[in-house]
Amino acid sequence: MLIYKATELVNFAQGDLMMLGAFTCYMFIVWYGVGYWPAFALAVAIIGLFGAALDWLILRRVIGQPQFAVVMLTIGLGAIFRSFASMTWGTEIYTLPTPFSARQTMVGGVSVSHEYVSIIIGTVILCLLLYVFFTHTRLGVAMQAASQNQLAAYYMGIPVKRLFSLIWAISAGVAAIAGVLLAPVSLIDINLGFIGLKAFAAAVLGGFGSIPGALAGGLTIGVIELFSGAYLPQGFKDVAAYVVLLIVLVVRPQGMFGTVGRKRV
């Protein structure tokens, strides 16, 4: 869910990749009887490879075209994935059995189920890893460079095409992780992908460019949903996130932690 903040690749199919990841994991666990952790790893690896293949086959061809083309392409791909998923796995809702299910811990008098703990810990670890990767490794910095200016990065000897495949692989892998983590809470069905839209809201809220911003945005959205569900009439819970998104876009289009820059002609 965080990858596009660092790479500025806007991917409308992210949510659908998430869904595919969750389904793959489910398939391994329930149909083939693989354990949870191996299934998790397999699902992430498969979706990651799938992301790389996607870039190699399709997305590489639109390099050099306006960003709009990529956006439309990912919208189209998302539709294909969703239809594929509904054809292979049907439209029923599945629950993913995990080692965390139905266990609770008392933390300061409040019972917290292990599923939520697993999500929070997983997200924090993932964010830290990504943050370190993008700011402190050669590869990560090269990726940032490639996304900031493809041509200049190419002149500097960065293999932009290979890097983009890698970015897509990581991005798809991360989406799969997110999908598997979310699956026990939100149940798996083909509409899991729409949660990805909320991830977008979080990303915009925090500002596209910054990773801490994205975390803060995600937290804000979550808290807002919680409170609007509790205090406002029915039906507001689903739209609250989008209302906030619109307001933020109007007031501070660059997000809470974004940077402002004037584009040159």
């Binding site: 960003q67 083309a69 392409l73 539709a79 239809s83 839209l197 989008y242 109007v250 002609v265």
Partner: protein
């Protein structure tokens, strides 16, 4: 190759390039007028093509000419449809007044979305319109007294100036009139300073601004114009489907509109119409294919033996009857068009025309575009 040698400024101002072109369009109009007699069975589908044509026209003005990509146009369609039905049935206003008011309300909503649009570019705008569409859908769900909520709302047949339009043919002509008017007005707006300003904004916002174009005014205008046209289309759409429910106006419909614009070819009115024809007739083709394709496969594989033929037919039948196939096909078409013909059907048409008029001398490099490599707008 015919070359028009212009001798007066009037020639630049004409709606059509020459008599040839005008006569072709007249022939097209004549063809459309006799269509109900030739193909009475498909008339309902053709009405849908015309309504979608209006939708595509609306999105083309916004996305193709002003460069503002919206993923929320289904919301404007819904606003138009619900407003029209509420005004004409619950409040009892005359049809024409109600349609005009519906367009006005949709335009007001467009301005509402357009105002934040002034501060955003590109992908942010798309996300904002998407958020707007999701909010509006939720409003349709919960505002029971006007929209009928989840139960939906039945729509009566239109009555214009006391004349009820009962048949499909009458409705077809009504849609045709609206589309023709929409095309004519849009064509003229686009040739006027307003349209030129929109195109300038699309090509370079900052350059347009420095030429003295007020971005705020023109972007809002584009949104209002587009939304108003969508509102008109919505009013017709309500009569076409005969029953309104909130789950019609989903993101999927918005994506279909975007698909029309891209498949037809961004930045051309012809493209809007081509795209509308494609998208509106595709479900018809798919449902026809659902009935026939299994048999074809059965006959094809029947040469290996009757049993194999029947098995293959059954398997293909199971495959094509899957419910999720249609959005997948839409997605596939979108992807293929962006990969192989970014300029859409209209772009291909222009290329084919040029190929024949320049016959042995055609070069594919004529249409080569300079590649623009992605640059971040973020400076750090």
């Amino acid at each position: 190759m015919r070359f028009i040698f212009k001798t007066t400024y009037r020639q630049d101002l004409r709606l059509f390039r020459d008599h040839f072109q005008r006569n072709w369009y007249l022939a097209l109009v004549a063809g459309l007028l006799v269509l109900p007699i030739l193909l009475p069975d498909y008339l309902v589908d053709f009405s849908l093509v015309l309504i979608f044509g209006l939708c595509a026209l609306s999105l083309m003005v916004l996305a193709g000419y002003t460069g503002l990509v919206s993923l929320g146009h289904a919301a404007f369609l819904g606003i138009g449809a619900y407003a029209h039905v509420y005004l004409s049935q619950d409040l009892g206003l005359p049809w024409i007044v109600s349609v005009a008011l519906a367009a006005g309300i949709a335009a007001a909503a467009g301005v509402l979305v357009g105002l934040p649009a002034l501060r955003m570019t590109g992908i942010y705008l798309t996300i904002a319109t998407l958020a707007f569409a999701l909010i509006i859908q939720e409003v349709f769900n919960h505002w029971d007294s006007v929209t009928g909520g989840l139960r939906g709302k039945a729509v009566e047949k239109p009555v214009i100036f006391g004349v009820p339009l009962r048949g499909d043919a009458e409705f077809y002509f009504l849609c045709l009139a609206f589309l023709a008017a929409g095309l004519w007005i849009t064509r003229n707006v686009l040739r006027a300073p307003t349209g030129r300003a929109w195109v300038a904004i699309r090509d370079s916002e900052i350059a347009a601004q420095s030429m003295g174009i007020n971005l705020a005014v023109y972007k809002t205008m584009a949104f209002a114009y587009s939304a108003a046209m969508m509102g008109l289309a919505g009013a017709l759409f309500a009569h076409k489907i005969g029953f309104l429910a909130p789950d019609i106006f989903t993101v999927l419909l918005s994506i279909q509109f975007l698909l029309m614009v891209v498949v037809g070819g961004l930045g051309s009115l012809h493209g809007a119409i081509f795209g509308a024809i494609c998208v509106a007739l595709l479900p018809v083709l798919i449902s026809e294919a659902r009935d026939r394709v299994p048999d074809w496969f059965g006959q094809l594989f029947g040469i290996f033996g009757t049993h194999i033929g029947l098995d293959v037919a059954a398997a293909v039948d199971r495959f094509v009857k899957q419910p999720g196939l249609e959005p997948g096909i839409f997605g596939l078409i979108l992807v293929l068009f962006i990969l192989f013909e970014p300029q859409g059907i209209y772009g291909r048409w222009v290329k084919i025309k040029l190929y024949f008029s320049l016959f042995p001398l055609y070069k594919s490099a004529t249409f080569a575009r300079q590649k623009s490599y992605m640059k971040s707008e973020r400076l750090r």
